[in-house]
């Protein structure tokens, strides 16, 4: 905790800011990329959103109150950026956000940056049918292996609520895969 406090001070100090922020990028780029990619599905979109996320993090560092962990705060920004990206895409193409996601799933089969087998593709299709919140909880728990406490801090939902959401999501996914 003390270590994090010192690191945040380095991020806010103009003399040490560049070096500290570069370290922050190196340390967090992979988990944040994976989190964003799980939401937007396509690599190019994930790359755009990840860059925007780091710009937002940099611009808002001075507003970081330290009430939550730096990691959770960054995840929260990444989640909002990714969800907003999908909403804007849906608005731009004048199609519902579910349709945007279905199209992204269809494109996965031809995506050179997706090497999933049949069951992986089926799992993605099953997730796409879930409500937004359940999708987020499932992806963060199953793929990203985050603890419920961490997810709770990122999404602002109680641990009990998250457990229920994950349980329902798993049941729906199993039912979909068994049907298909």
């Amino acid at each position: 905790m003390q270590e994090e406090k010192e690191f945040i001070e380095q991020l806010l100090n103009l003399k040490t800011q560049n070096q500290a922020f570069e370290k922050l990028i190196v340390d967090s780029q992979r988990p944040l990329y994976n989190h964003i990619r799980n939401i937007v599905l396509n690599h190019d979109d994930a790359d755009d959103v990840l860059q925007n996320t780091f710009v937002k993090i940099f611009q808002n560092l001075k507003n970081f109150k330290g009430e939550s962990k730096l990691f959770s705060w960054m995840y929260r920004i990444a989640t909002n950026e990714a969800l907003n990206f999908l909403k804007q895409k849906s608005k731009r193409n004048e199609i519902p956000s579910e349709a945007v996601q279905n199209k992204a799933i269809e494109n996965l089969e031809a995506d050179i940056y997706f090497d999933g087998n049949e069951i992986q593709l089926k799992l993605q299709k099953a997730i796409a049918l879930l409500p937004e919140k359940q999708q987020l909880v499932f992806k963060m728990k199953y793929f990203e292996e985050l603890k419920y406490e961490a997810i709770s801090e990122i999404l602002g939902t109680s641990v009990g609520g998250l457990k229920a959401s994950y349980h329902i999501a798993v049941k729906k996914i199993e039912a979909f895969i068994n049907r298909n």
Binding site: L14, E22, R37, H43, L50, V55, F114, G116, N117, E174
Partner: protein, 138 residues
């Protein structure tokens, strides 16, 4: 066919890949994109805000001066009727003939006073008038 149970299966990975060396170059690419140490842009208006406000206030006042002046000088003065009459009588060259020329028949009719005068009264007035003879002769 056995029923699919997520917890009984080996973990299914997302299947997403990234281009080669994507993360090796990402931080350098990102650092170039950051708006670091950007000089704060202060607009000319912000910098000289007080000066602009002062000029604006002077302009407003300058524009208001003629308006206020006109307002104070065009106020209707209620001129006293007696003073006007005295002015026309003593300070101008207007005589009764000028006034008669200006008057229309209608105006004359308006100022006619209908008065019933008894013959006796007329006789009394005429008898007291010392110039009566001269008037008759004329």
């Amino acid at each position: 066919m056995k029923t699919f149970k997520l917890e009984n299966e080996t973990k299914i990975e997302s299947g997403f890949k990234t281009p080669d060396n994507y993360f090796d170059n990402f931080s350098a690419k990102m650092m170039e994109r950051l708006p670091m140490n950007e000089p704060k842009v202060i607009s000319i208006f912000q910098k000289r805000k007080n000066l602009f406000l002062l000029i604006a206030a002077i302009l407003v006042l300058a524009l208001l001066v003629p308006t206020l002046y006109n307002y104070s000088t065009t106020q209707k003065s209620n001129m006293d009727a007696a003073a006007l009459e005295n002015y026309i009588t003593y300070q101008t060259n207007v005589n009764q003939y000028d006034l008669i020329n200006v008057l229309e028949t209608e105006d004359i009719n308006n100022i006619k006073i209908s008065m019933v005068i008894e013959d006796k009264a007329i006789e009394d007035v005429l008898s007291l008038n010392s110039n009566l003879e001269n008037l008759i002769l004329e």
